[in-house]
């Protein structure tokens, strides 16, 4: 018994002393005092030094997109550093291109604020806010995809462009001991400002998707921040080609809903890729849009359906029906949402067919 007590006492004493020493060091050596952050040459913030730029900005309610929560793996939290911030770190080099490095682009999660720093961020990010919401509806729309409707609380309203995304916050729960944020495109119409709709697919082992699919239920409180993203509807008179697979339908649906509510009259073809009938969802919504939009056609293509199955639509990969409609590429533009592999293949195909690269807008996830 004495052995156990003395072992615990000695270990506690040693670790306690070392913890005391490190805390003391943090307060002395690690104390950088108050440091200025100048944003876009006009807004000045005073923050406590020593923290990362991402956390410092977040504590001042300026939210920079970061899907990995500041671990330096997603590369979303890019911003321009005009002055301060030190030299680029090896961790950043893998996620920032040579051209971006020359332009002063850095990862906000890797820079520690230790000296006055001048940065540039898109003005849009000043509109990014944190929202508290309650789950109005959560339902399975395929075996692996859920449809969420989140009512924004406290009379809050969200302004976003159709195609943009928000970051949903998953708090610590039974299978995760840390809070994480993950990006999901908004599927609802921008005119619906009091709620948002999300379409979230289940990812094996995914912290946020497991939270949504296994733990979140109607009436629960959630928080999210946003809106973010450069993928959104561009107003012109060109014919629109849309391609998506799985949860990639969300931003396209938002764009279509926005077009309907604004009465936009443009020819629009939406190619949707799925494996089989079970992976198809919102068919009723698509039919409704076909009837109500000016000139809209929904083209689902199933890739893993047998010849004997009762399916009269397109078969094969989504690129196959797309190819049939690409004879006259002039005066067309494309909106693509889905996996990087799918998007890379379609971008290549569109460029080969003669589409100007600047008219191809995409969101890889």
């Amino acid at each position: 018994m004495n052995d156990i007590v003395s072992t615990i006492a000695i270990m506690s004493g040693i670790t306690g002393f070392l913890a005391f020493l490190l805390t003391l060091a943090k307060r002395t050596v690690g104390d950088y005092g108050m440091v200025d952050i100048t944003i876009n040459g006009k807004k000045k913030l005073e923050v406590r030094g020593g923290d990362t730029l991402l956390s410092a900005l977040s504590s001042e309610k300026i939210f920079i997109p970061s899907a990995c929560g500041g671990k330096g793996t997603c590369g979303y939290c890019k911003l321009k550093v005009i002055e301060g911030g030190g030299a680029i770190l090896p961790m950043e080099e893998g996620l920032i291109s040579v051209e971006e490095i020359d332009a002063g682009v850095r990862l906000a999660c890797q820079i520690k604020v230790k000296e006055p720093i001048k940065i540039e961020i898109p003005e849009d990010l000043f509109n990014v806010r944190e929202y508290k919401a309650v789950v109005r509806k959560i339902e399975d729309i395929t075996p692996k995809i859920k449809h969420l409707v989140l009512d924004i609380l406290e009379g809050g309203e969200i302004d976003f462009k159709p195609g943009q995304y928000v970051q949903l916050v998953a708090p610590p729960y039974a299978e995760s001991d840390e809070s994480v944020q993950r990006a999901y495109s908004i599927a609802s119409c921008p005119t619906d400002k009091n709620f948002i709709e999300l379409i979230i697919g289940y990812v094996e082992g995914g912290v946020c998707t497991t939270y949504v699919h296994k733990y979140l239920k109607e009436g629960d409180s959630v928080s999210f921040n946003g809106p973010f993203g450069n993928f959104f509807y561009k107003d012109n008179d060109r014919e629109m080609i849309m391609v998506a697979a799985g949860t990639g339908m969300a931003p396209i649906l938002s764009i279509l809903r926005a077009m309907k509510s604004s009465g936009i009259e443009r020819r629009c073809l939406f190619f949707f890729g799925a494996k089989n009938r079970d992976d198809l969802f919102f068919m009723d919504k698509m039919q409704n849009l076909e009837e109500s939009l000016f000139d809209f056609e929904f083209v689902p293509a199933l890739s893993r359906i047998g010849p004997e199955d009762d399916w009269e639509g397109e078969r094969g990969r989504v690129t196959e029906p797309l190819l049939k409609h690409l004879e006259h590429i002039e005066n067309k533009e494309a909106y693509l949402c889905g996996s990087p592999v799918m998007i890379d293949a379609i971008v290549k195909l569109l460029i080969e067919k003669g589409m100007d690269e600047e008219r191809i807008y995409y969101d890889k996830f």
Partner: protein, 196 residues
Amino acid sequence: MTELNPFVLFTASIFTSNMILANFLGMCSFIAVSKDIKTSLGLGQAVTFVLTFTTVINYFLYKYVLIPMNLEYLRYIVFIISIAAFVQLVEMIVERHLPVLHHALGIFLPLITVNCAILGVSLFMVIRRYSFIQSLAFGFGSGVGWTMAIVALAGLKKRLNESRVPKGLRGGGITLIITGLMALGFMGFSGMVQIS
């Protein structure tokens, strides 16, 4: 307690019992950070500093805390905790006062915590029953030996950049072959003095 003169122990830990080339401890950072002589020298200095001080700290912890309390079996966890805390302390100081070195070492500075050479030296010190002066000489010498080996490898790699290495051997392959050849070369010193 062995009767080796601390100076002999210091020299032996650099040449005949080099942590990398004789004991093969601390290989990960040895292979990964040996691309540039300046950075290798920086990491070598940091490893030497941490090695020397953690050996001393662990000597006192072992002799004046663990032995009197009959808790020698806790040495692994106690040594690891003291090394981790000391490395964190060094990182804070280097980040504050030596930003250029901090930037050059990047992720490898905190990784000194898991450099097996650091724990290895503390454990050798216990197994071989070194005195305080012997431990100090052994810790410092091992650090110098580790630095010498990594700087030598960085120099060789620099020359390799200008050589025509077969495609399949470039990178890790040729580095391991060179390390083996360096170890063979260092075996030539082994007749001078053996420490155990």
